[in-house]
Every structure is written in C-alpha cells, then in structure tokens.
C-alpha cells in the first residue's frame, strides 16, 4: 500500500516534471532596447518549440535561418528589413510558424531566387498574417508539405519579367493550403511547379506582370473562390492533370495577348461556376481533353472561348455566354466536343413548346471568327459593315462554319 503510494507519487512527479519540461518551452522577447535585440541571435539561443515575440520596431537583418521548430510572432507588425542584401527568412525545420511580420527589401539577384520567406524540406509550417513588400520572390516553398500559407499580403513592384520574382511559389511541394492571400505586382502571383494536392482558395491575385496563377506539371490541385484581375496574361494552367477550378473570377485581363485563363495540355479537369468578364479571351484552350465546363459565366469578353489545336471530349453545358464579341472560335474540327444547354445572349431563336429550350439550334461560331482564325490579318475588318452582312448571311444559311458545331438545346432564359 505504502509502496503503491510512493509509486503514484513518483509517477505523478514524473508527469509533473514532464509537464514542466513541456511548459518550460520559453517565450523570448525581441525588441530594440531588450537584451535580445537581434532575431537571428534569439533564434540561435532558443530551443525547440519556443516562442519568439518580436516587438514593434525595425530589425535590419537578412538570411535569418530558422532551423528548429519555433513560433515567431510579430507584435504590432515589426519591420524586418533585409536591406536588399539577400534572402530574409529561411525555414529548414518542421513545425515552424511565422506570424505577423512586415518583411521588406529582399535582395534582387540574377543568379539566386532570393525570397522573403523560403521553406526548405519542411512539414507542418504555418505562414500567416505576413506583409511582404519590396521583394523579389515572396514565399518560396521548396520540397515542403502539409503546410499552410494563410492571409498574407504580398505587394511587389515588378516592372520587367527578367528581374522580378513570383509572389507565392511552390516547387515540388505537396498537400499545402494557400488561402486568403493577396498578391499583387509580382511576376506570377502564385506559381506551382511539380506540386500536387494543393488547395488554393479565396486568394486575390491582381496586377501581376505575367500570370495571376500559373500551374506547371502539377496534378490533383484545386483552386476555388479566387479572384484574378488585370494580370498581364491572366491565369495559365499547363501540362497538368485533374485540376478542379471552381467559382473563381477572371476579369479585366485585357490586352493583345491576354486571356482570363489559358489551358495548355490539360486533361480531366473540371471548370465550373467561374466568371470570365472583360477579358480579351475568356478561355484559351490548347490541346486539352476531357474537361467539363459547366455553369460558368462568360461576360463581355472579346472571345469567350478560343480553341486552338485538337481538343477531344470536352463538354460545355449550362454556361452563360453574354455579350461577347465572339462566343467561340475554333481552328480545327469539333472532335466530339459537346455544347448543350447553354445560354447565348445573341441567340435569336424561338421556343414554341415553352419548355425553356430554343427550338432552333444555335451556332456559336461566327463566319468572321472562322475567317480570322484562317487569316489573322483579316481582323482589321472588325466591325465593318461588310463583315456584319456576311456574318448575318452565314447565320441564316451556313456554308463555311462547321455544321456540327452547334448547341442543339440553347436555353431561352439566362441561367440564374
């Protein structure tokens, strides 16, 4: 009995001790007048799972290596100024949290992709509430996984592609969640290369030099509820499989070589509920197969959809095509792509049986768009009376445009 009591005491003591050990995780405070006035040195002193609080102030430091699991938290947005000397934070350990810092002045280099925050071969990281300005690359995830990039603000001032970097870049990374970030003025807002199972939600990516979002060789990713506006060329999804694109807004990507979205060599994707508004080209599709386009809105684009090269087994259903200069442009055969049950604002047919579906098929390819595909220079006749006349006559009795390219069940009313 006594022994037992001793035993229990010992076990309790052990538990308490362990608890103390864990609770012993220290909190370090960094400020200009504190004992610890350097982030770098404080990290070196800290032990695993410590928390470092950085008080308001300016810290001129760069190449800050975070090589142990730490929580680094800014109080009142302290400024970490890299003075353009190189990279600022480099995380090489798992379980690191960066929170609430104002990071500026990343060194621009033509040989190294310097980033404000680089995460290398780490897991379970959390980067949140950061503000990054005057940067080259913003957040660069390299061979990392199971992390989260949440609610950061990345403002670049990129002018030329060759000396600017990407806002958020994922390279060989998996299972990362990127959400509620705002990226602007970088080369590519968000760039994914060889990165699978990434979730990108509720971000805004605007005014970037090249693409708002750029996929290369990345599979099984999802992006939804993002807004991409006024980027140099729009959003590019290339050489990737099983991408889900939902409820995003692509707008005002307006320029001679701009589009809402570029699909190149994409297979088995789903594109639904997106809004494409005021883009030169809504979706530019090259060699992409088995893609479901449904319930998207195409509003006031130059071309809503432009198809280049062979694309097989795509289906376009339940989309709204509203006031686009050209709804569809095709330069190849139809290749068993299906258009059905879409609403076309320029449809002039009738619905005698009142079932909500037009009785006459709609042909979305104008003769002019067919001719422009053949001979691009003919675009100079845009909005000439001659073109209006021949478009009209072609619509009445098609001679040149592919006969099978039609929506046999055009909606009479706009899909709500």
């Amino acid at each position: 009995m006594k022994i037992k009591k001793e035993h229990i005491k010992f076990i309790l003591g052990c538990i308490l001790l362990m608890g103390f050990q864990i609770g012993m995780a220290n909190t370090w405070t960094v400020c200009a007048t504190c004992e610890n006035n350097s982030i770098k040195e404080t990290i070196a002193r800290a032990t695993d799972h410590d928390t470092i609080r950085i008080e308001k102030g300016t810290y001129k430091e760069f190449e800050i290596l975070v090589d142990k699991p730490l929580v680094i938290k800014g109080i009142g947005y302290p400024i970490v100024d890299g003075e353009k000397k190189g990279e600022i934070f480099k995380i090489t350990s798992d379980n690191v949290t960066l929170d609430g810092l104002f990071v500026i002045n990343v060194g621009v280099s033509y040989t190294k992709d310097n980033a404000a925050i680089r995460v290398v071969q780490s897991k379970n990281f959390l980067i949140q509430n950061m503000v990054l300005e005057q940067l080259f690359f913003g957040i660069y995830l390299e061979k990392s996984s199971h992390g989260k990039v949440y609610h950061n603000r990345i403002i670049g001032q990129a002018v030329d592609e060759y000396n600017s970097g990407n806002g958020i870049q994922l390279w060989y990374s998996t299972d990362v969640e990127v959400s509620k970030n705002h990226v602007q003025g970088t080369r590519d807002g968000i760039y994914l290369e060889f990165s699978d199972r990434i979730t990108i939600t509720d971000n805004t990516s605007v005014d970037n030099l090249r693409y708002g979002l750029h996929f290369m060789f990345s599979n099984n990713d999802v992006y939804s509820n993002n807004t991409f506006e006024n980027n140099g060329a729009g959003v590019a999804v290339m050489f990737s499989k099983f991408i889900t694109m939902k409820d995003n807004t692509f707008q005002k990507n307006w320029g001679t070589a701009a589009y809402g979205m570029l699909l190149k060599e994409i297979n088995d994707a789903e594109i639904s509920g997106n809004t494409f508004e005021e883009n030169t080209i809504g979706i530019n599709i090259e060699g992409s197969n088995r893609i479901q386009y449904h319930n998207n809105d195409f509003i006031n684009n130059g071309w809503a959809i432009r198809v280049i090269g062979a694309c097989y087994t795509n289906s376009f259903t339940g989309n709204n095509f509203l006031y686009n200069s050209f709804d569809i442009s095709y330069n190849s055969k139809l290749n068993d792509n299906v258009f059905e049950g879409n609403f076309w604002s320029s449809y002039t047919g009738y619905d005698l049986d009142k079932d909500g579906v037009g009785d006459v098929p709609y042909r979305p390819v104008k003769l002019f768009s067919y001719i422009v595909n053949r001979t691009p220079e003919t675009i100079v006749l845009l909005r000439s009376l001659f073109m209006d006349i021949i478009d009209f006559s072609e619509r009445v009795s098609p001679v040149f445009t592919p006969d099978e390219l039609k929506d046999i069940r055009p909606l009479m009313k706009i899909r709500p």
């Binding site: 220079e377 003919t378 100079v380 909005r383």
Partner: protein
Amino acid sequence: MLKILKYSFYDLIRSRWSYVYFLFYLALGFVLLFLNNDVSKAVITLMNVIIVLIPLIGTIFGVMYYYNSREFTELLLAQPINRRSIFMGQYFGVAGSLTMSLVLGLGIPFVLYGLLRSNAIFDFSLLLVTGAFLTFIFVGLSFVIAISNENKIKGFGYAVLLWLFLAVVYDGLFLMSLIVFEEYPLDTFSLVATALNPIDLSRILILLKLDISALLGYTGAIFKKFFGTDLGFLVSMAILLLWTVLPILGLGHKAKRKDF
C-alpha cells in the same frame, strides 16, 4: 461664295430633313447614354452608326440637294457670281449643315451627360471629327457625281453605288485579297488598303482609341504602332483631308466646264 454658303446653309437648316437628321442623332445620343450609362460603350455603338450612316446620308443628301436646287442654281448662274463660288457655296452649305446636325445632335446629350468631365472626351471628339470628315467627303463625292450626270436617276444610282462600293464591296475585295495572299506578309498591305478607304480609315482610327482594339491582336499592334504615333495620326488626317479636297477640286473643275 460665303453668301451662297450662307443662303444654302440657311435654306437647309430650315428644311424638314435637317431636323429629322438632327433629331435622329439627338435621340440616338440620349438613348445610348441614358439606357446604357456607359460613355465608352456608347462611343462604340456610335462608331458603327457613323461609319455606315454618315456616308450614306451624306451621299443621298448631296445628290438630292444638287438635283432639287438645279433651277435655283440656274438662277444663280445668271447672276454676277463666279461659278465656282456657287457650287462651293452649296457644297459647304450642305456639308456644313449636316455636320452641324451631327455635332449638335450628338454633342448635346453627351455634354448634358457630363462628357466634359469624362475622359472619353478625346474619343468622342475623334468620333465627331471623323464624322465631319466623312460628311464632307461623301457630300463632295455626291456633288461631283450629280454635276456629271444630268439624269437624276443615273446620278442617284451612281452615288448609291459609290457608297456601296466604299462601305461594303471594298472591304469584300480587301478580305479576298487578304485570304488569297495569306502566304505573304500582309501588314503593309492592310495598312495601305485601310488608309485608302476613308470609311475603313475612320473605323480603324476610332477602334484603336477604344478598348476593343485589343481584339485586333498582333495586326492591331502594328496598326497602333503606325496610327498611334503623332505622325500616323497626322498622316491619317492628311489622307482624310485629301479625300475631302479631291472631290472639291473635281467639283470646281466640272463646274467650270459644265453647260446648264
């Protein structure tokens, strides 16, 4: 000449047709602005109207005026007035009153709408300038046709054919040559072919000022490079001016030799 101009102009601005024309533009301006609420969209629609309708109205009005006022012209010819002045006066009277209908008809709703504070004012002025040029060009051409043809029906027919040619057939031929010669570099050709037809030139000048020019893509970039510069703008204005002056010279030439 100024006296004739004054009287022709006076006569015209009191005619029913001038009112109709003026009210048409006024209504168009108001409808576009107050239903659409977007100045730049209104400018696009107006461009479509202007490049088709102005040449047509200019042509028909010019021919009609010439033939209708033939007896009066003869009355004037017996007066101690230089022949050239009579025809120039009438020409400027017609073109001037049409231009005034256009400028006031569209100007009033746009000014009321607050154009002066909008940055579309330059596009809009360009629209009016090209509209005025097209009016002068096509009234001039129709006068030359009318003075060369005693037969009203013939004159009317030729004038409408001319309009049809410049507004429609020309673009058809242009398109065909672009397709036939698609193997060759066509930039210079399309630039020249556009510049030669006042309707096409006006269309491109206006298009390039609008957002829609992005649709022109690569070709548009080349056009923009040319027409977008001060030199290109001057060249296109010079071409429009040439198109205006040539019919006037032709009119003067014909007037000197014509028997009445």
